[in-house]
Symmetry: C2
Subunit: 363 residues, 2 copies
């Protein structure tokens, strides 16, 4: 079985590493000839809107999935005519636009921050009155890792934000004074079976995920149940197949949905060593119509992103149960170059090991 | 860092899968253009004694290792002139000849079955008197998976065995009425640090490893200590770097060494999911001079080889914590095509899961 993957970044690379043992073959599609998946499989290098190249890419594939979320809808629909795509182009499109995404959450009864579209400067004035300050002005499309966002704390900020982003379709959201950021990863098979990983606590820096604690500490069952309920609604509404990630705010004992990703997710990298089946393997099992794997955690883990620079491997590997994952990318400020997962049987041991990793946490 | 691997079979493939996350690159050397590692990295296809191709293979490599044990000594010595090889060609040569191997064990004070070289029909008569019946006549070289062995139960068998194998340098060994077969996997770093995996119980069928239980059930600490002591002696005597496997017979409460393999080993495949660091990652860490990873088991595991045919993946994956590993080889009777590892937190759960896998155990 040969799987085509739109995007050849680290997520694609880790999909391939999880898929080869299952006897799967891979072909990637990525604009960059240096895509990290390139060491592991054939990469077709072309722009995502190059239909001729997409046609070459699709030839002989059994199915297509993505590891990059901003593939143009025209391209996924074009591919869908000749090869099955999971998750569906509809799911991808929903997640590509923060307005349709938030509207779906709202329609499904999933709590979200107050939100309203902003299409003009006067819209912004009006919605600011409705939403109140502080608020967050976001581009509806192409935002990731904190890009395309502007926090409005005082009225003057609105003018600056409008000047910076006014050319794009925008969304204004109420600013949430959350206690912490969590994410739920769920996987749904072709037969409708759903499994959930335990909630993960995420810490960001400059808008980029810095580290995740898995399972989230002090996780009460009611919170897990709430998150699973939200995920189930989305998965079923979209007849979703594959791994879905929903980022959540914990706020006064309840969860608000922030955004979702129709793919394997950075906050699920810990599952490679820290769960009974990794998110990568479970995504592949789902889209191939295979039974899903167990999602329980094996002890507790912390996943730390390596951003901009990578440490000496020996420094990381000297720590018991520290696992290094390098993506084969050249260094550049703000770029995710790899991650480290530290696993332990219990929280106390984990914390002692993380102390040894302290050098990675300093900026 | 680019690592050259002599042999491109399933062991090489699993080395590459373990090594990519560490940022390593691979180049394989294998006579077959269909070598299983071929999906994952460049393979130079040529015979092992083709020095010109070995020279091309070596160009630009940081170091060389092997996943196939019968590489000619002239080839490894030729390579050693231009690139570091781990484990050393000397270790490989020792393991290639059952006589030098047994002689080393004996010299190091490691108990072995009685043994003597057989170079002629009259040698066989004489050594049979010394060793007694039953005995095992083996080729000194190129034996694996039970090939090149002949059990002599009565005196007449000697004549048949001599007719079948008399053209090769041979070894006669006392037949051991063992209680069970075990193996110890050890890894030694460049700095001399040694780590051991727990002893594994191995079950063979027609001379081929069928399944392994890890850790070996009813493992008393004294047995583990004995095995670790044997492995330490061999590792230090050979100034060994990498993973070493020693197959052992348990017999009246003590261990006898049967043979060793200077590479990652089939009886260590369970470590991918069942240990804190896999044998593949630890072999790479060792030969790259990186700190070794933790070798403790995570619960208990059974590894089952898929020989000759492979099951429907969905049948295997429906079992909780069953992990499927297919090697991408075409089916052929007696050929190792993949393996399944089932992990559980305890023996009772493991046994229940293995019952579900019963269909794989029937011939």
């Amino acid at each position: 079985m040969t799987i085509g993957v739109l995007g050849g970044g680290q997520l694609g690379r880790m999909l391939a590493l999880a898929g080869y043992p299952l006897g799967l073959h891979f072909r990637f599609f990525d604009p960059s000839p240096q895509a990290p998946a390139g060491n592991l499989a054939e990469v077709i290098s072309a722009n995502y809107d190059d239909l001729k190249s997409l046609e070459c890419f699709a030839a002989g594939l059994d199915l297509v999935t993505y590891e990059f979320e901003n593939v143009p809808a025209t391209s996924t629909h074009f591919l869908a005519k000749c090869v099955p795509i999971y998750p569906s182009p509809k799911a991808l499109e929903t997640a590509q636009d923060r307005l349709t995404e938030k509207t779906l959450f709202h329609r499904l009864g999933i709590p979200v921050p107050e939100f309203a579209p902003v299409n003009s400067s006067s819209d912004l004035e009006a919605t600011l009155k409705q939403v109140g300050l502080p608020a967050v002005l976001k581009t509806r499309r192409l935002g990731y890792d904190g890009k395309g966002q502007f926090v409005l704390r005082q009225h003057d900020d609105a003018q600056h934000a409008w000047e910076a982003m006014g050319g794009f379709p925008l969304l204004l959201e109420g600013f949430i004074h959350f206690e912490r950021e969590l994410s739920i990863l769920a996987v749904r098979g072709k037969n409708g079976e759903i499994r959930f990983y335990p909630l993960v606590e995420n810490h960001h820096q400059d808008g980029i995920l810095r580290h995740s604690l898995a399972p989230a500490p002090n996780l009460i069952p009611a919170l897990q149940t709430q998150a699973e309920d939200y995920a189930t609604r989305v998965l079923e509404a979209l007849d979703y197949v594959g791994v879905l990630a929903i980022e959540l705010f914990q706020c006064a004992g309840r969860l608000l949905a922030n955004e979702m990703a129709c793919r394997v997710h950075n906050s699920g990298h810990w599952t490679i060593e820290g769960a009974k089946t990794s998110q990568f393997e479970n995504h592949l099992r789902a889209i191939c119509g295979l039974p899903l794997g167990a999602t329980a955690a094996l002890g507790c883990s912390t996943m730390l992103n390596l951003i901009g620079t990578t440490p000496e491997p020996r420094q990381v590997l000297a720590i018991p149960e520290a696992h290094l994952h390098l993506y084969g990318k050249s260094a550049r400020p703000g770029r995710k170059l790899g991650h480290v997962t530290v696993r332990a049987d219990n929280q106390q041991t984990l914390e002692a090991r993380l102390e040894q990793l302290g050098f990675l946490f300093s900026p």
